[in-house]
């Protein structure tokens, strides 16, 4: 257990130089490109996975929405790989920093909304009022829909930050508890260790699911607006 539980979340700085830049850029090393038709196993696996994900995610969009494919695919790759790398021991996860998630969420959401407002003004404004509402409720409902629209980027960023940070904190705490319990009672330590294993499996799933959810929601906002 750390003296301060949150030391693993501070931005890494070495001799005043931002080491965090290198850590953010590191996942790009793990995705090599290849111009060949038949490449090595690593690249083939990644291309197959990318094709699967892009087909599943971009099939609902029209041709205008599908211009965002590159952006959304790189987004899901980045968030997925960063979250998974954060599960390695001692590593730093950039997506635990709210600043970074806000930096990802706000421009993407704003891009989708402004595209909708520019190109299909009437239709995108019509989203503020669900179909079939009784007339007296209309003013209140428009206000509520506006608030829910502006909360979307905040929710995107905070959801990702909170999920990943909470998972990491739980792993730290339960791991520390297991270590402390080893000398007191081995059976309880074994139970805690089983909980730790299950939690780690959950964290692997959460890492990938959060990437998926982020990208899916951005694509949904896009679908509404193209």
């Amino acid at each position: 257990m750390n003296e301060n539980l949150f030391t693993s979340f501070i931005t890494p700085v070495i001799l005043g130089l931002p080491l965090v830049t290198l850590i953010v850029l590191f996942p790009s090393l793990l995705f090599p490109t290849s111009n060949r038709l038949v490449s090595n196993r690593f690249v083939t696996l990644q291309q197959w996975m990318l094709q699967l994900v892009s087909k599943q995610m971009m099939s609902i969009h029209n041709s205008k929405g599908q211009t965002w494919t590159l952006m959304l695919m790189s987004l899901i790759l980045f968030i997925g790989s960063t979250n998974l790398l954060g599960l390695l021991p001692h590593s730093f996860t950039p997506t635990t920093q709210l600043s970074m998630n806000l930096g990802m969420a706000i421009p993407l959401w704003a891009g989708a909304v402004i595209t909708g407002l520019r190109n299909k003004t009437k239709a995108s404004l019509a989203h503020f009022l669900p179909q079939g509402t009784p007339t007296p409720l209309i003013p209140m409902l428009v206000i509520i829909e506006t608030i829910s629209l502006f909360i979307q980027p905040m929710a995107l960023a905070v959801r990702l930050t909170a999920n990943i940070t909470a998972g990491h904190l739980l792993i730290h705490l339960i791991g520390g508890a297991t270590l402390a319990l080893m000398s007191i009672s081995t059976t309880t330590a074994l139970i805690t260790f089983t909980i730790l294993i299950l939690l780690t499996i959950l964290e692997f799933a959460v890492a990938m699911i959060q990437a998926y959810v982020f990208t899916l929601l951005v694509s949904l906002y896009l679908h509404d607006n193209t």
């Binding site: 257990m1 750390n2 003296e3 030391t7 693993s8 890494p12 070495i14 080491l19 590191f26 090393l29 793990l30 090599p32 490449s39 090595n40 196993r41 690593f42 790398l85 390695l88 021991p89 001692h90 590593s91 730093f92």
Partner: protein
């Protein structure tokens, strides 16, 4: 005995021990030289372990292990307080 090959073009393992300081100083330390060094190193690793016909998990795991090790070195200062010692 004068060297037949000029010092600059020798590989590291062929340089005699006395010539080592001048060999190091003769390396290209410009930004493009350093970028070239990183690129050469990357492709050397990539072509040996990943870009092969039957690449295994070892190519990826060595990179991840090095990443874990570097992160451990980075956070050693905080981690050394958590050792089981009587006096820290």
């Amino acid at each position: 005995m004068a060297s037949v090959v000029p010092l600059k073009e020798k590989k590291l393992l062929e340089v005699k021990l006395g010539e080592l300081p001048s060999w190091i100083l003769m390396r290209d330390f410009t930004p493009s030289g350093i970028a070239g060094a990183f690129q050469r190193g990357y492709y050397r690793y990539y072509n040996k372990y990943v870009n092969v016909k039957k690449g295994s998990i070892a190519g990826l795991s060595m990179v991840l292990a090095a990443y874990v090790f570097l992160n451990y070195c980075r956070s050693y200062k905080e981690l050394k307080h958590e050792r089981l010692r009587k006096y820290h």
